[in-house]
Amino acid sequence: MINSMQGAACETNAPKARNVLLCDIGSTYTKLTAVDIEKGKIIGFSKSYTTIEDDVTIGYNKALELLKDQTGEIHFAKKLCASSAAGGLKIISSGLVPDLTAKASRLASASAGGKVIKTYSYELTEDDAKNIESENPDIILLSGGIDGGNKEVLLHNATMVSKISGNFHVIVAGNKSAKDDVAKILSQNVVFTENVMPEFGVLNIEPVKEVIRKLFIENIVSAKGLDSIQKIMDMEIIPTPLAVLEACEILGKNIGEIMAYDLGGATTDVYSIADGSPKTIDCFMNGLQEPYAKRTVEGDLGMRYSMEALLEQTETENLIRGYQLNEPDYHKWIRICREYKGTLPTGDFEKYHTIDEAIASEAIKISTNRHVGTKKKVMTLAGEAFLQEGKDLTGIKYIIGSGGAIINARNPQKILQKAIYTPSDAELLKPLKPTLLLDESNCMCAMGLLSRIEPNLAVQLMKENFKEI
């Protein structure tokens, strides 16, 4: 409420101050959305190529001119911006045990809007260090050990990271007993914060999220050449996935438990806004209790840059037969996409759209299976019982699809249906009867930004713009 009051204060000074500009600087396009707050309407949308290599404001200004063609000369009371340009917020996360602190550090990085390139567990090796260096991350997150627990791994990994060269920041969120020793090893560009798992099984990701947010604003924005655009904006630039997560959170609060997908060329992002804890008294929780607002980033599932990695996880035979594809066409299309990453199944390539839909469907299927929890039956003397790991998402009410590969598909419902439970999913806790929605106008990022100042309007506009399929 405070924010919207501030907004109102600004508006009194300007004649046409009822408008807000929402800006999403992607790796390819700079997208602008104009919203008239008083009328509660989206009044314009434009996009132009992102020009981060030269000056990011060139692309922004071009998009702004295009926007003005729709709205006429316009004044904005507030301008807000999210960015995933220049590789996004690249994070390497690490911990001790894969299912415990390593998982906690990955969840923390992902929910801060990071592009989690890889998560390491146990001791980093020389090879790991080399790989990390070649990834050129923005942030390396070190964790491991509960407070008072294992120190060795954190100390070892700090030593390994101290040998890596590059322009990155280190966040240490591990066993607090190791802090003083780690501080002796790492002296530059390091921030210490609370343990991601201070006690066994207790997830504590907010302090890491806050540190990542600060680093992004204070250092990474300028390192990525976003300074000039930051000066134009009225609020801090945030990572695009964080804006989408916030859009999902506010929508979930209003319409019930939701999941959302953003399927892109390099990654598949999955969001779930749901409690996810066991639904019956005979079901016991195993492992970590995952966050209410959970985001996972799958770097090996994408339509182009990570298409190869995706296809490695599926049997070509099954893909061709399962989706009734023409085999020669399939191989031809894969060759084309491998060579020209920007190829779309339009124009001359129209006939290949079913193949892209098959690839997209697989990305949704695999990413869902990784995101949701599992429930296994066990026999006890007191009768049948169940062990649950991860989130129970069977009760999800809505699934929202966004990202070019879904919204431009001829049959987006076929792709999104892969998120729904089928008998062959056995123990996976996938949604049972969700309603499928399409973010046709790709407005989730903009609505996440808008929710920071006008939460109710953001919800209303999403409801209006999402199409049931």
Partner: protein, 137 residues
């Protein structure tokens, strides 16, 4: 003096929670740092919790008779995970049928457990043993 860390829980498909709560209370009260995993705990969970917490001992409870199957291989898993020499304690209704406790103890020691307790043991005895084993007061 270093605080001794104990990882404890009821192993397998066993939902007996009362004894677990009593042990948690007694051990915490005696000054140990307790990581309590509750009921229906798998071997993997015991091992992973012990790694993260740098535990000194794992305390396994079992009341439903299937403990022997559940506990088999726990020592090997600990060795494999780098927890060499970690103390393993087991207690409860550890085997099926009426078997002399001496035999039960022998079977469990063969499986790599350091101390074994029969049903109805006084938890204070384990506290005395733990303090003795780790040389703490």
């Amino acid at each position: 003096m270093k605080q001794i860390t104990l990882v404890m829980g009821v192993i397998g498909a066993d939902v007996h929670a009362v004894g677990n709560k009593i042990l948690n209370f007694v051990f915490t009260d005696a000054g140990f740092k307790v990581v309590n995993l509750g009921v229906m705990v798998t071997q993997k969970e015991f091992v992973e919790a012990a790694i993260e917490s740098a535990a000194d001992a794992i305390i396994v409870s079992s009341l439903y008779g299937q403990g022997e199957i559940d506990c088999k291989g726990l020592r090997d898993k600990c060795d494999e995970a780098g927890l060499k020499g970690i103390k393993l304690y087991a207690g409860g209704n550890l085997v099926i049928g009426k078997v002399d406790f001496e035999e039960v103890e022998e079977r469990y020691k063969k499986m790599g457990f350091d101390r074994v307790y029969p049903p109805g043991s006084d938890p204070q005895i384990s506290v005395v043993h733990l303090k003795e084993d780790f040389g703490v007061e």
